[in-house]
Point group: C2
Chain length 106, copies 2
DNA sequence: TTACTGTATAATGGTATGATTATACACTTG
DNA sequence: CAAGTGTATAATCATACCATTATACAGTAA
């Protein structure tokens, strides 16, 4: 029996937050970034090479993912490395692949 | 080791499809609808009452979810009943709750 | 210091999204 | 048939998003 059926409604602000986070993942380029990262830590320039668009475009999409807490970043010298912020998010990405791209089970 | 690391890139069209489906879920009202449905089959008028906006607005959002294959619908007399289309999508919704609204474990 | 590399931000303009309103369609009942 | 109920669609306008371009910032190397 679900929470909804048990009369425990999810708060509007939680729904809002969740929707905004999911929306952050709901863009082809950003989804590609997430799938490319997997559980690795990758520098911006590598992401640019792997995903294939302009550095500026990648940087803006990375900022969106970082601002929503999907990605975490670490600076080393003049490079910045990005990674998926936590294990649960990583599992969610895996499950998204399962549901929408069954051919590519993680 | 992920598919990406194994050099098995996900096709652009698969990423596009997945992103469009996820985007369909990435709206507060639509996420609320999905959480409200859970594993039940609910009529449009009930959804309108439970979620709380205009019938027209709900109908448009239901159409978006239906068109992306997230929801399935069944007509009975002059009512239409909606449900989450398959078990995997249902699990994905559950996991989204886990990740973004940990207080409401399914 | 200057020059260079790597990354982030600002500004712009075209496109997509979304809530509202009004209307149309499908079905049922009288 | 008409009237009523339940649902879907069309039209509108305001807003949000996105890719591109140019520029700024941080760090390194000479």
């Amino acid at each position: 029996m679900s929470s909804e059926q048990m009369g425990l409604p999810i708060k509007d602000e939680d729904i809002e937050r969740a929707a905004m986070s999911i929306k952050a993942m709901a863009h082809p380029l950003r989804l590609r970034i997430l799938c490319t990262l997997g559980d690795r830590e990758v520098s911006v320039q590598e992401i640019v090479e792997l995903v294939g668009t302009s550095q500026s475009n990648i940087s803006q999409h990375l900022a969106i993912l970082r601002d929503k807490g999907i990605l975490a970043s670490r600076k080393d010298a003049n490079r910045v490395y990005y990674r998926v912020s936590d294990a649960r998010t990583l599992r969610l990405i895996s499950m998204m692949k399962d549901v929408f791209c069954p051919a590519f089970g993680s």
